[in-house]
Amino acid sequence: MVQLRPRASRAPASASAMVDEGPPASEEEAEHGLLLGQPSSGAAAEPLEAEEDGDDELEDEAPEELTFASAQAEAREEERRARETARRDKTLLKEKRKRREELFIEQKKRKLLPDAVLEKLTAASQANIKKSPPKLKVSLQKKNEKCEKISDSKKTKVQKVQSVGQNKSYVALRLKDEDLRDSRKEAAKAFIQNSLYGPGTNRTTVNKFLSLENKRLPVKKAAVQFLNTTWGTQRKQNAKKFARRWMIRKMKTPKK
């Protein structure tokens, strides 16, 4: 029991060294082992004891003596095991991925309408739609209604998607796409605004720019903009906030 401790403490240390630093670390270990192996066992015990001194326990019993060969074998075994587990993990992951891909493909197939129906849809005759399975017809109708609603509410943002029927009074669009598109457009606009007029771009104001010209003119003219609307913005905001809070407080107090 007692002998196991130093072994247990030692083995993980060597394993971690191997994982962290690879082969050179193991070589170092081997060198160290060689140094230990050359003198007598008593001499070898000394440094180990010195290590144990810090712990202040079990001083009377020396740890098990390890030969270089056994330590090496142990280390090799450990390395092999680690490699094996890594490989196993990899294969497992691969298998998992493969299975998921298959599932996706299957799902996609399931989502798609049968080939015949698709062909008919592209032909886009009303009769064909009627012939298709009832479930599909209902879903199509629903889709149409939805599309019409959307196009009514959002006539301005029209983006053509394949229209199922011949009826051209509406255009189908996915609101999700529009949102995505708008947000990306806004982000792009923010980028250009930031890189042209953002912090660190060294911009002046129009008024300062025009006054620069005015300063050098022989005839001095009035400033183009008299009013500075940005003056005292913080104070104005504070006042507004205060007024709102005051109003809310006033509204609350009569009730009590």
């Binding site: 301005t156 943002k157 983006q159 598109r181 990306r184 457009k185 982000a187 792009a188 606009k189 980028f191 890189s195 042209l196 007029y197 660190g200 771009t201 060294n202 911009r203 002046t204 104001t205 129009v206 008024n207 300062k208 720019f209 025009l210 620069l212 300063k215 050098r216 183009v224 903009q225």
Partner: protein
């Protein structure tokens, strides 16, 4: 802002300065060498086509749209024009019918850059998500071909190698060189972020140009113009040209000169010159700086003879290169185009109303009045101020193409790219009420020009399919009278209309095909004015005589008698003698022609910098006479006055002049738009240190 003033000795002039029009900034320019045309896109999505051979006339325009913002513009094979923008769509324009042919989603998020291949058969777009997509240009559409290797950052600039085998793409902090065949990156060149010793957050490559010897030229936000060797991916030379971003680059076809534009408003010219006077070794040298802009130069172009630049300050500047110009004539002078070459203002003479057209709204103003009288040149005080009657916001994201108010002031019409609106205006004791005329016919969905007849009973609409519609207006309703189909297979749309005051003749002109005169009584084509090489800029039919006066972009003015179907004697005499050389050297086209109701010999016309009354009874000026003569003092003897007087009486008092018309026999209205007022409303410019301020 309004002053009534005794000007020209005989008119009371309303000097209007409350037209708060700000042109939108220029985002891209693209020059087409074959047709010598320049496409210009603005930040509001408007695309304009300038004909550089026709005295830089803006001959076509495509109205903008709020949801589109054009970031890239290019010409492809057979003079097809493409644009791409932040909504992720590639748009092709139909230059014949002046409409959008199609819009196609590139599915890569917002598009920052686009370039047509040297052969013009392929189109490359650089997207927000870091993808570079190659499209094949088919005769009637474009087709996605493939993606190049995706980059981490947005692709802000693109350039083809002249052989079409490689491309350079500018992104943030690096430039990638792609092999077109495999679509893979062959080199990645990292740009130094250092800016004047301070490390900036990032370095944006605003533009790249690929030369045929494999050199890649890049311009970036650190203010550098850098030359790279694409074969080794190494930096060859770096020029620090600005304290701010360098935003645009363009290269000449011979690859011996290039131009860059900076955020400070400076345009630099680089030239490939020999190192010593007779050595073969050449190097790029910064030769000339030009400061024609006050704000960011967002885009530049290089025509064989000129540097073209445009930016946030809304000016389009065309600077001819002296060494490339063969004849040192007026064509070698600098051109600065600020205002559109079309009318944005219409006027109701009877009610003294002005209708101002903006990109997304219309404003109706009542002119002020005065009871005071004064001597010639006096500024009269107003007894009643100008009144803002109406502010009409257009629905939807589309820009307004054209608008018009009827001479009686009771009808108003405007059109966007997809809808046509007609309103009835009613005035009751100082109140104004507006009523939309509903159920417009289906064919009236878009108009390029709208005109009311003099008695406000008929409405003429030039649609973009080349046809002309005549609509009779009744009280609160309308009736479609007739449609003149587009002439003999041409789909070219009509841009200018003029109707005779007696309501019998309608003249219409397209972008190039000449002027057609229709008889409204007989509802058929009456005649076609002999074709002329230059586009028409303004048209008007004189009262009583029914003479059609036509102004062309090369500053020629013709008078054509409609009943006789031939040019008038005066016009022939004028052509024989020729115009004064100073008249022909004016920069801006004539945008409006009107007539004096009591003086049939007078023609009133104006451009952006002058107002002119042509008196046909006086002798024509020759090159020796003074064209811009001041008004002769009244105390001079009659003989001297007669000797110096000639047919062209020109006033340069009002400028920039956007509109001028005769309200009645003794009253003129002039709408000015001072440039300072426009600058005051532009985005902030770069701060520059000026010594002594």
């Amino acid at each position: 802002m309004l002053a009534a003033e005794g000007g020209m000795g005989e008119f009371k002039v309303h000097r209007v300065r409350f037209f708060n029009y700000v042109p939108s900034g220029i985002r891209c320019v693209a020059y087409n060498n074959q047709s010598n045309r320049l496409a210009v896109s603005r930040t509001d999505g408007t695309v304009e086509i300038y004909n550089l051979s026709a005295n830089y006339f803006q001959e076509k325009f495509f109205p903008g749209n709020e949801s589109r913002s054009t970031e890239a513009l290019c010409w492809a094979k057979e003079q097809r024009l493409f644009s791409a923008g932040l909504n992720g769509e590639i748009i092709e324009y139909d230059l014949q019918t002046l409409s959008i042919k199609y819009a196609m989603d590139a599915f890569g998020g917002p598009i920052w850059s686009m370039a047509a291949s040297p052969s013009g058969s392929q189109l490359l777009v650089g997207c927000e998500d870091g993808s570079v997509k190659l499209f094949q240009i088919t005769p009637d559409k474009i087709q996605f071909e493939r993606n190049f290797d995706r980059q981490k950052n947005r692709i802000l600039s693109l350039s083809w190698h002249p052989s079409g085998t490689h491309i350079a793409a500018g992104s943030i902090d690096y430039i990638s060189v792609f092999d077109v065949k495999s679509g893979s990156v062959t080199h990645k060149m990292h740009v130094d972020r250092q800016y004047m010793g301070v490390s900036k957050r990032k370095c944006i490559i605003w533009g790249v140009a690929f030369l045929s010897d494999g050199t890649v030229v890049s311009v970036d936000s650190a203010g550098k113009v850098q030359f790279w060797d694409s074969a080794t991916g190494t930096l060859v030379k770096s020029h620090l040209v600005a304290n701010a971003d360098v935003q645009s680059i363009a290269i000449s076809d011979q690859e011996d000169s290039l131009v860059v534009g900076t955020a400070e408003g400076t345009v630099f010219h680089f030239q490939l010159v020999s190192v010593t006077s007779n050595s073969i070794e050449k190097q790029w040298v910064r030769t000339k700086p030009f400061q024609h802009h006050t704000h960011d130069v967002r885009t530049v172009a290089h025509s064989p003879t000129a540097l073209i630049s445009g930016g946030t300050d809304t000016h389009l500047v065309i600077r001819p290169l002296m060494e490339k110009v063969e004849v040192k004539n007026y064509d070698a002078a600098l051109r600065k185009i600020t205002f559109p070459h079309r009318r944005l203002i219409s006027c109701s003479k009877k009610k003294q109303l002005l209708l101002f057209q903006f990109a997304h709204h219309l404003e109706l103003w009542q002119l002020g009045s005065t009871v005071a009288t004064g001597r010639n040149g006096d500024t009269l005080p107003l007894s009643k101020n100008a009144d803002h009657l109406l502010h009409l916001k257009a629905k939807g994201p589309e820009n307004i193409i054209c608008s018009c108010i009827s001479p009686c002031g009771s009808w108003m019409a405007y059109s966007t790219a997809s809808r046509f609106f007609l309103y009835r205006l009613k005035y009751e004791r100082g109140n104004i009420s507006l009523q939309r005329v509903s159920k417009m016919p289906a064919f009236l969905h878009s108009a390029l020009q709208i005109l009311f007849s003099e008695d406000s009973t008929k409405l003429f609409v030039a649609s973009n399919q080349g046809s002309l519609h005549i609509i009779r207006l009744l009280d609160g309703s309308f009736k479609h009278l007739h449609t003149f189909p587009s002439l003999s297979g041409t789909v070219e749309s009509m841009c200018l209309l003029a109707v005779s005051p007696d309501g019998n003749w309608l003249a219409a002109s397209g972008t190039s095909a000449g002027v057609h005169v229709y008889s409204i009584k007989l509802l058929k084509l009456h005649c076609t004015v002999p074709a002329y090489n230059f586009p028409v800029t303004a048209l008007a039919i004189a009262p009583n005589t029914n003479n059609l006066v036509i102004a062309h972009s090369d500053q020629q003015v013709f008078e054509y008698s409609i009943p006789d179907k031939q040019y008038t004697e005066w016009s022939r005499a004028l052509q024989k003698q020729g115009f004064h050389h100073l008249w022909l050297q004016r920069d801006t086209p004539i945008t409006h022609i009107s007539f004096h109701p009591k003086r049939p010999m007078h023609i009133l016309l104006h451009d952006a910098y002058m107002f002119c009354i042509i008196d046909k009874s006086l002798p024509l000026p020759n090159d020796k006479t003074l064209l811009y003569n001041p008004i002769p003092p009244t105390n001079e003897s009659d003989v001297i006055r007669r000797r110096t007087a000639h047919a062209f009486k020109i006033s340069k008092l009002y400028k920039p002049l956007l509109f001028m018309d005769l309200l009645d026999e003794r009253t003129l209205v002039a709408v000015e738009r001072p440039l300072d007022d426009i600058i005051a409303q532009l985005p902030p410019p770069i701060k520059k240190k000026k010594f002594g301020t």
